[in-house]
Every structure is written in structure tokens, then in C-alpha cells.
């Protein structure tokens, strides 16, 4: 493939590498001295290269925090568009009329790597204050095959870098390694199977020469998993199911006679985090299926709605923490677990923070999976009176009950077939990522302030069919939905500040030393004071922000980048709650800002 720009030095290195591959060398054996070879060493020490953004969530702890200070609270009012680039991937497929952009760009040494909803990867040269497309890798995703079983949009949240490869997923279930220099596909592997209702929307997490993949499909009767692929041999290293097999620990939490566990859901479609000190991957697990008929699947339904800690080398489960046992609300826990160390009297307190669809933010001791604190981060919660101070379980939770009812008057059930719940089934907080400022110890949650109406349909085994919805009901949107950014002081577990917004936050957060950046589905990208959340800057992109901002430097100059193109679940399933957003057009555009 023709290169549109670049340097001869780089090209000759690419040639050498290509030769190395041809000679059968393992990627791990390639020397990592080259500045743009991505190694485990670099991934562990991203603080040494603050101008780059190497991880999907910025670092292994999912802080999405940048120490760059050229753009700060004093001058952010002068932030302007530096350049833009139109991308593709807007076309529809399956049940979707169009795609959207939910990705986080990766930045390395002046080049950006972004994806569109169908998984095309774009390498963009950002040198010289403008963006030039270097290459585009189009994986030719099978639109109808994948789009028919994507519950919530034509989405791809981005790439990862490893060695001289760009690692990405496609909605139709592939893991793809693309040569970073040439844009040529080096290899690809089927990890998920759309014939089973499995699709992939998340960015891969790279840990020690493995790509970790999560799966979506809990609305289609999948049995969820997290899988690790060796990037040298392209072989699967481990695959850990989020629903235990018969006789395995946790299988006793599926007490039905329907074999519900086999189609029990437990998706893993948001990229997780990694704690190198204990070689532990922490990953969120989605809702059980059928979503709204929990009497079909009596028991706690482990490990749905849980944070899971896995041994990174073996995939073995170390601990779990479940937020909503026997969930009747679609309150999944796929969200990223943010890893934070706080000073304590007996040494640092090692926490995993998760903002759940159920409206509560949790701090878990990540050495043992024990509850530390939890609090509601939304304005309205109706499904429970609160969390037990000791265990963090909803106070109505009764371990002796096979089918949980929580606040029974609002909880969807076979005797309460139509009911209104708060938060609504989108949360709370959905996939849009939080950010954490380690200097201020503030954690910023992008919030959907919502209620919606749930109608239950009794599930029966004959209704379970491959590639067909398996939800036991569905939501409708009789209520207006708004949003907020909620900042939590993690030293106290209390809300430090809250900024209400006219629309739900469908994009996510970026934190810098004294600012936070975010966006609105009505088009605005905004910057706020890190403490007060007061708005200091705004630019209207004219599209719908459905992706998180990030920041990087090129030639010593700081930029903020964000993908803009409203897609995902919202404009098909939830638009009636935000009627003003009906006028937002599909789009696919990268915005880059600078002073």
C-alpha cells in the first residue's frame, strides 16, 4: 500500500521488520529499542511519554488522565479547531440504518490511530498542525451478519498498539493485526462468532504479548467470555467464561430447570484494566439474559453484573464482586474498573472503582474483592433504598431468595409486568468512560440521569433462538432523560461536585491537571474546571458527541482530539427520551483542537 507521508528511516525499518517476520521470528523477540516499537515496558510506563496516548484508557489503570499542561484553565478559552478529518463507516447493515463513532484515538509519536464503527482503522499523520491520512485498513466487515446481532449499534471503540502492529477488532468477531507502517493486514483470527449472537465492539487490551478480547451479545443469549490471544503465535492462550459451567464454582447460582446459564449473557464489551503488581486483569461483566425476566433464571446468576479479577497469565478467576444479583433491570457492570492507590495507615489502599448502570459508584479492595464504599451518583434511584454499609449489596437483597424483588413496587417481574425504573436500563453510567485525576483524587463520571419504562414478557425455552433477541421484555421512553458529570472524591467516597447537562453523557471524560473535557450528544465539546466543573470552553461540532476526548502532543504542541458521529444504541432505541436529538444527523468526523 502506498504511503502518503513519512520518513525514509521509518520505511527502511519497516522493511527490516518485514524481513524479520518472513524469517519466522517471533514478535516478542524483535528488539524493542526502536522508538515506535510498542513493548510491555512502554505500556507499563506511559508516564515517561506524556505526549503519547498508548492505551485505550490512557494507562493500565484506566485513569484517562494527561499531565500535559500547555492547555490549562487559564488559556482553554482560546482553544480552537486545528484540523478535522472526515472518516467513513456511516453506512448501515443488519438492523442498523447507520454506524457511529465511539472510539478513543491512540496517539504515538505524532501519528493517530482511529477506527470507525465498522472497524476500519485509519493511521493519520498529525505532524505540522494538520492531519494527513497515511493509510486506511478496511477489514470488510460482514455488515448484515454482524449488524443483525449488534444490540446497540455499529460500534468500534478503538485499537491498541503492539510491536510494529496495530491490533483491532471487528464487529463480526475478528482480531486483526495490521502492519503499523504499511497498513497491510499481517494476520487475523476469529475470536467471536456472530452465528451465536457474539460481536465485538471494544478495543483490545494488550498484556504481555497477549490481546485480551471482550464480547457483546447478552441480548442474544450468548454465554459471555474474556479471551486472550498470543500475538506471536496467534493462538488462544485462555478463554474464561463469565458464566460458570456445570459443577464449577458459581454454577449453583443458576437454580432453574431451563439450563438458563447456557444462554445466560454476561457480556464483556468494555475494555478492562490491568494491575501489574499482582498480574491481575480486572474486567466488568454485563447483564444476565433474558434481561427483564429474572424468574426465568432464579439465583444470583454469577458472574453477571460483576467485576471480575483474573490471573493475567492463566485467565483463572481470582475474585468477583457482584453489584446486582439476579438482575431484573439490565443493570450490567461492563464498565471499566479504575485502579487507584490511596495512602492509608497500613500502607496504600488498593482500590478498583466502578460506576455501575444501577446508579451506584463502588470502591472495591482490589486485593481481595471486598466492598469499601458505594454511593449513588445519579439524582434518582428507585429500585433500592440503598447499599448495605458492610457488604455493598442492595439492602433488600436476600441471599435465601431465588428471585430478587428489591423495591418490589417498581421492580419488573412476572407479577409487575409494566413498571418504571430509575435509573433507566441504559444507566446510570453506560460504556462512556470515567476519568481520574490522581493529583486531586477526583473521579469524574459521565452520567445518564434517567428513568424508563420496562415491559416484561415471560421467557420460555422455545423463545430462545440463535441470533434472535433474548430479552424477556423491553424498554420504552416516556420520560425525558438528561445528564450530568459527577465528580467523586475517592478519599471520602462522597460527591465533590456535580454539573447537570441538558442531555445524557454518551461520550465520556478526559482529565488533565486542572481541567476535564467531555461532550454532549447535541454536539458540544466542552472543558471544565477540574474542581468546580464550571464550564470554561465550548465548541459545537454540529454532530453528536458519542466518544471520549483524549490529548497528545506533536512536535511539542498539545492537541485535544475527539471523534464525532452519533450512533450506538441511543438514536435507535432511546431517542424518544431526548426528542431534540432527532435532528442530529449521522456523521463520522475527527476533530482536533489546539491553542
Amino acid at each position: 500500500m502506498k504511503r502518503f507521508s513519512g520518513q525514509t528511516i521509518r520505511s527502511s525499518r519497516a522493511h527490516l521488520l518485514a524481513t524479520a517476520f518472513a524469517a519466522g521470528s517471533l514478535l516478542a523477540a524483535v528488539p524493542v529499542s526502536a522508538a515506535d516499537e510498542v513493548s510491555q515496558e512502554r505500556l507499563l510506563n506511559v508516564q515517561n511519554e506524556p505526549g503519547n496516548w498508548l492505551h485505550h484508557h490512557q494507562n493500565y489503570s484506566a485513569h484517562r488522565f494527561s499531565p500535559l499542561k500547555e492547555i490549562n484553565r487559564d488559556n482553554v478559552k482560546n482553544l480552537k479547531v486545528a484540523w478535522t478529518m472526515h472518516l467513513g463507516g456511516v453506512e448501515g447493515g443488519g438492523i442498523w440504518s447507520h454506524g457511529g463513532l465511539e472510539g478513543t484515538p491512540i496517539a504515538e509519536n505524532g501519528f493517530l490511530y482511529v477506527t470507525d464503527g465498522w472497524g476500519s482503522v485509519y493511521k493519520i499523520d498529525a505532524h505540522g498542525g494538520r492531519g494527513v491520512l497515511v493509510w486506511k485498513m478496511d477489514p470488510k466487515t460482514d455488515h448484515d451478519w454482524a449488524g443483525a446481532v449488534a444490540c446497540c449499534g455499529v460500534d468500534n471503540r478503538g485499537v491498541a498498539l503492539w510491536g510494529n502492529l496495530v491490533i483491532s477488532h471487528t464487529l463480526d468477531g475478528r482480531l486483526i493485526a495490521t502492519d503499523k507502517e504499511t497498513g497491510q493486514v499481517k494476520w487475523q483470527r476469529n475470536v467471536a462468532d456472530p452465528d451465536k449472537g457474539e460481536v465485538i465492539t471494544g478495543a483490545p487490551l494488550i498484556v504481555k504479548n497477549m490481546a485480551i478480547t471482550g464480547v457483546a451479545g447478552a441480548e442474544y443469549g450468548i454465554r459471555g467470555w474474556i479471551a486472550a490471544t498470543d500475538l506471536s503465535t496467534q493462538k488462544e492462550v485462555w478463554r474464561t467464561y463469565t458464566i460458570p459451567g456445570k459443577g464449577e464454582p458459581g454454577s449453583e447460582t443458576w437454580k432453574d430447570n431451563n439450563n438458563a446459564a447456557a444462554a445466560g449473557g454476561g457480556s464483556t464489551w468494555v475494555t478492562g484494566t490491568y494491575d501489574p503488581a499482582t498480574d491481575t486483569i480486572i474486567w466488568g461483566v454485563g447483564n444476565p439474559g433474558p434481561d427483564w425476566d429474572n424468574a426465568y433464571r432464579p439465583g444470583d446468576n454469577l458472574y453477571t453484573d460483576s467485576s471480575l479479577a483474573l490471573d493475567a497469565t492463566t485467565g483463572k478467576i481470582k475474585w468477583h464482586y457482584q453489584h446486582t444479583p439476579n438482575d431484573p433491570y439490565d443493570y450490567d457492570s461492563v464498565a471499566e474498573n479504575v485502579l487507584v492507590d490511596l495512602p492509608g495507615p497500613n500502607g496504600p489502599r488498593k482500590l478498583a472503582l466502578e460506576a455501575d448502570r444501577n446508579g451506584f459508584a463502588y470502591a472495591i479492595d482490589r486485593t481481595n474483592g471486598k466492598f469499601v464504599w458505594g454511593l449513588p451518583f445519579v439524582k434518582k434511584v428507585t429500585w433500592t433504598k440503598g447499599l448495605d454499609a458492610e457488604t455493598g449489596k442492595p439492602v433488600e437483597y436476600d441471599p435465601n431468595k431465588a428471585v430478587q424483588t428489591y423495591v418490589a413496587s417498581v421492580t419488573p417481574s412476572r407479577t409487575n409486568m409494566e413498571t418504571d425504573i430509575c435509573p433507566g436500563n441504559m444507566g446510570g453510567k453506560n460504556w462512556p468512560p470515567t476519568a481520574y485525576n490522581p493529583e486531586l483524587k477526583l473521579w469524574y463520571i459521565p452520567v445518564i440521569e434517567s428513568c424508563n419504562r420496562i415491559k416484561v414478557e415471560v421467557a420460555t425455552p422455545d423463545k430462545l433462538k440463535p441470533r434472535e433477541f433474548w430479552t424477556g421484555g423491553g424498554p420504552s421512553q416516556p420520560f425525558k432523560i438528561t445528564g450530568s458529570v459527577t465528580a467523586i472524591d475517592v478519599t471520602t467516597g462522597k460527591i465533590a461536585s456535580k454539573l447537570e447537562t441538558p442531555f445524557p453523557n454518551l461520550g465520556g471524560m478526559l482529565a488533565t491537571s486542572d481541567l476535564v473535557f467531555t461532550g454532549q450528544p447535541s454536539g458540544e465539546v466542552t472543558a471544565h474546571d477540574a474542581k468546580s466543573l464550571q464550564k470554561l470552553w465550548e465548541f459545537n461540532t454540529g454532530g453528536g458527541v458519542n466518544a471520549p476526548p483524549m490529548t497528545f502532543t506533536v512536535d511539542g504542541k498539545q492537541y485535544v482530539a475527539i471523534l464525532v458521529g452519533l450512533g450506538g444504541a441511543w438514536d435507535k432505541w432511546f431517542i424518544d427520551s431526548t426528542p431534540e436529538l432527532k435532528k442530529i444527523q449521522p456523521g463520522s468526523m475527527l476533530y482536533v483542537f489546539a491553542l
Partner: protein, 188 residues
């Protein structure tokens, strides 16, 4: 178009047909993009795809639950041709089924109602408007290929998707299903 069909239709439909007839071109929606076909309902199939009927009813028309609520099964529908035409043109009040006739509930009353009468029951507007001939074509397609067709089959799926998509693979009898591992690895 046959006059006896008009006579059998509801008063609303007669109005809408009359209102639209003057603008009706000879070629149905989407037909130009389709290769010549011996199936007289090919134009209706194109409408079914392009008007995003598949978005809720799926390619097979069986609908199903999910985040958008339950789109009714067109395979199990008892609606007549006229009722299907009316439902596509006017939507279904109080549900997510949109209307596809330009001016429905405004200059053209639906089920005897204008927008004001429909109030909170007003159905959403379709993503595209369809001409009366296109609505009839999609109704004829539903009658010929979907209504009463039982469970979806591989042959029906392949017939619907002319592309090389793997969307139909699950309908294949087990012995015909390709080994998915065969496409793994260095396929490019």
C-alpha cells in the same frame, strides 16, 4: 393499479391514493438498483430493505423483542393486503411502527385522525417516505414471501440477501454448515 382494489380499501386509503396518484412515477422505489428479476415482488423486497422494515421486523419478518419493544411478526400476521397497506402508510398509533406516507395525519387523515386527534398515540415518522405504489409493492412482497411462511429457512434467507454475507449460515442444515475454523488465521 386496479380500481377494484381501491374500492375494497378504507376511505382513508382512497384519499391518500388520490392525493398521491398524480405524482406517481412508473418505476417503483429501489427498482432501478435491482437487476431484472422474474419475481414480480422484487421491487417490494427492495422497499422492505431500503425503508428499514428490517430494522425491527428483521429480514425474515418475524420481528421479536429487544430494546425497541416487540415488533410484530409479519409471518404470523392476520392482516389483509389492504390492512398492511394502511399500516405501512399510517403506522400503528401508540406503537413504534412508523408511518411512511408523506402528509399522513396532516393533509391525509389516518384511521380518521389527524395529528391533533392522535395526540400522544401519534406514531413516529418513517425514516423515508414511500409512494403509494411502493407501499403496495412492499405489501405484495410481504404477502408473497413472509405472511404464513412459517419459520425462516436457508433458501428464504439466501433469496433475501444477494450478497456474500454469512448472515444465512445459521439456517443451513447442520451438515452443510462450513467449518468456521477454516477461515481463521492468515486469510489476507
Amino acid at each position: 393499479m386496479k380500481l377494484n382494489l381501491l374500492a375494497a380499501s378504507t376511505p382513508m386509503l382512497r384519499v391518500s391514493v388520490a392525493a398521491l396518484a398524480f405524482a406517481m412515477p412508473a418505476v417503483a422505489y429501489g427498482q432501478a438498483a435491482q437487476p431484472a428479476s422474474s419475481d414480480p415482488t422484487a421491487a417490494g423486497k427492495a422497499v422492505f430493505a431500503k425503508a428499514n422494515c428490517v430494522g425491527c421486523h428483521k429480514w425474515h419478518g418475524n420481528g421479536g423483542g429487544g430494546y425497541g419493544g416487540d415488533a410484530l411478526s409479519l409471518r404470523k400476521t392476520a392482516l389483509t393486503r389492504e390492512q398492511i397497506i394502511e399500516t405501512v402508510g399510517c403506522g400503528r398509533p401508540g406503537t413504534g411502527m412508523p408511518f411512511f406516507t408523506r402528509g399522513a395525519y396532516d393533509e391525509i387523515k389516518c384511521y380518521g385522525m389527524n395529528r391533533q386527534d392522535a395526540g400522544a398515540q401519534m406514531p413516529p415518522e418513517g425514516g423515508t417516505f414511500l409512494r403509494q405504489k411502493d407501499i403496495e409493492a412492499v405489501a405484495d412482497y410481504v404477502l408473497a414471501h413472509i405472511k404464513g411462511a412459517g419459520e425462516p429457512t436457508y433458501a428464504q434467507c439466501v433469496d433475501f440477501f444477494s450478497s456474500g454475507s454469512r448472515v444465512c449460515d445459521i439456517y443451513k442444515p447442520k451438515e452443510e454448515k462450513p467449518d468456521t475454523t477454516a477461515s481463521m488465521g492468515k486469510s489476507q
